[in-house]
Symmetry: C2
Subunit: 368 residues, 2 copies
């Protein structure tokens, strides 16, 4: 064996697994493209035309590094949200920010609490920085707030993760339940509240922003309703010192200038956002109908996807997913026990939903 540099003990212990296999990878493996890209919770309604124009206009300026302080975008978000610019940190998507949070608060071997079957990329970061995952099963298809709280206390965990609305189930808690959870948390436990799907939630699901608590980070993104997943732009809102601590670990010039420009422009086009939210709601309703028509049970969704109970076990739902794949329809499914009876279908333009609607009956027949 060739002598070679040795990775750290931690890195040696990590598997080379990937949180998600992306649709392009699947297309290359299949040897042909999907006709319906409904698996990644993207926003097929697209970014606003005004934002696409802003990107085109900014393109010749891409020789400049982005502003390391993300000043204009932070300030625009601060105005939009009614908090201070010092309460916001911008990052390379929520994915990037989650990595920075884990890195900041998790010593090797420390327990980190999340739900069994919740966001795999968070788990990837916890493993990557040597944390020990403590998982709490969902309860009635929702993340179990009491269970999470108990686990935090039992383990004296420095970090807990919750997505509200939830991915992969699309369910949600009302604001008061989340606020009770925050109130009951030890003040020394950092709480990451992932609100990637916040804009499509019913009124009343998002607690008011409160930047007085040092142990709460609210994470949001331009990847979903704003239609800019391909530009990697997320942000965290929190107490000023908590936010300032990111300066110690973030990649200061890591944000693309393009993302900053596009996000700024997207924020200004709230009319497009409203239109997208309308389309999302209409598409959810259509997906509910399609599910029911085919004997599946849709879960009421606060997100840009609809999770459908296939009425069998995990193996059956996996077959449905595979049969849809054979018919060029890309969807995903939850994998955790209890949730794995479902498939998860993102909203999208009518033509793609048409494909899903046309192929679902055959896929279900083949899966039986």
């Amino acid at each position: 064996m060739t002598e070679r540099p040795s990775p750290t003990a931690l890195v040696r212990s990590l598997p080379a697994t990937v949180p998600f296999v992306g649709p392009e990878t699947q297309e290359r493996e299949r040897g042909r493209p999907f006709r319906a890209r409904l698996g990644a919770n993207e926003n097929g309604f697209g970014p606003a035309p005004s934002v696409a124009r802003a990107m085109a206009g900014a393109a010749p300026q891409m020789w400049k590094y982005g502003d390391a302080q993300n000043h204009d975008l932070r300030n625009a978000l601060a105005r939009h949200l009614g908090v201070g610019a010092e309460n916001i940190v911008i990052g390379e998507g929520i994915d990037g920010l989650l990595g920075l949070v884990v890195r900041q608060y998790v010593e090797q071997g420390a327990p980190v609490v999340t739900s069994l079957g919740a966001y795999p990329t968070f788990n990837y970061h916890v493993a990557g920085f040597g944390g020990r995952l403590v998982t709490v099963p969902y309860r009635d298809d929702r993340e179990d707030l009491d269970g999470l709280l108990n686990a935090v206390k039992l383990q004296n965990a420095p970090l807990v993760y919750l997505s509200n609305p939830d991915n992969p189930m699309g369910t949600w808690w009302e604001a008061d339940a989340v606020e009770d959870f925050v109130e009951a948390l030890p003040p020394t436990t950092m709480f990451v509240l992932d609100e990637a799907y916040g804009e499509t939630a019913p009124p009343g699901a998002l607690p008011a922003l409160d930047v007085s608590r040092p142990n709460v980070l609210r994470m949001r993104t331009f990847s979903k309703v704003y239609g800019l997943a391909g530009l990697r732009c997320g942000y965290a809102v929190g107490e000023a010192e908590t936010i300032r601590n990111f300066e110690k670990v973030r990649n200061h010039f890591g944000m693309t200038r393009m993302a900053q420009e596009a996000a700024l422009s997207a924020l200004e086009d709230q009319a497009h956002l409203q239109w997208v939210c309308g389309e999302v709601e209409a598409c959810r309703q259509r997906l509910y109908r399609i599910a029911r028509k085919n004997g599946l049970t849709p879960l009421l969704s606060a997100t840009n996807f609809v999770t459908m109970d296939c009425g069998g076990d995990g193996q059956h739902a996996m077959k449905v997913l595979q049969e849809l794949g054979k018919r060029d329809v890309f969807v995903r499914k939850p994998m955790a026990p209890g949730l794995d009876r479902c498939i998860r279908v993102s909203v999208g333009p009518a033509e793609e939903i048409d494909v899903f609607e046309a192929e679902l009956p055959e896929a279900l027949k083949a899966a039986r």
Copy 2:
């Protein structure tokens, strides 16, 4: 004092310093824009028009996450460089990749060797992951290969960094010197060879690519001659298993789709690259003349900047930099003892160099 989550011991130990204060930050502090942006080693000649068009064309597609495997770009680079796609990892600029390398190979407290006054962002990552920097002074304004090698051996260092051509001095080593260095390195020491400025180096400065050694990572970027600093796209070339290890720690969906599209398009427009390289050379010649005309001694440069010896000490050069700033000219300067007698001026379009040329005599007079 409010009870709050405690960052890890390592993070608590980190200062909140920033490797660089960007030009936009400086402009906000000054209250007015620079007339000449010649401090960040950007490429003011810009990306190719073909690339700007590709970005504009791709803009409406930004609702899709980027391909997590960076498949097309890796394969295009592989063809371009004559290596395998398995020998390339794409990252969010060399900055991002440097962080991943440090994270992979540096246990807390481990020694990491670099030159005193070399790339601050590398040092930032070393500190950020708890490494112990061991610095070797420059020798005759070049990084001291023998000194670096001795330090590696003395410290049994797992990681050593060299930029060739060098930043901030613009000097370089010929390929055979670098190859001798590689040959003499312990095979258990990872060698990061930062070739961000490789395309503007004289023929003969870059060793042939050899992907057989597990302990060499060659880093390159689309930020310099390709004019895409604002899109954050760099790559590392190395032995397949070394490259594969990045999968354990990288943010798989972290690359923007825009960067992938733009870099692919930039790679195809080699005519533009050649034109830029010609402009860079012409501008270096002009900067040499301007320096000499003003009694400064330019260092022969293999990069897209010219470092100029101001003929005094560090304080004098700092005054020159400040006086240029007052005159709306943004340049930088090396800070390490021995190098700090210099200012560093990036190449740029004629109009900006005109401003520098016009303001330099007054700035020098004021600095005396």
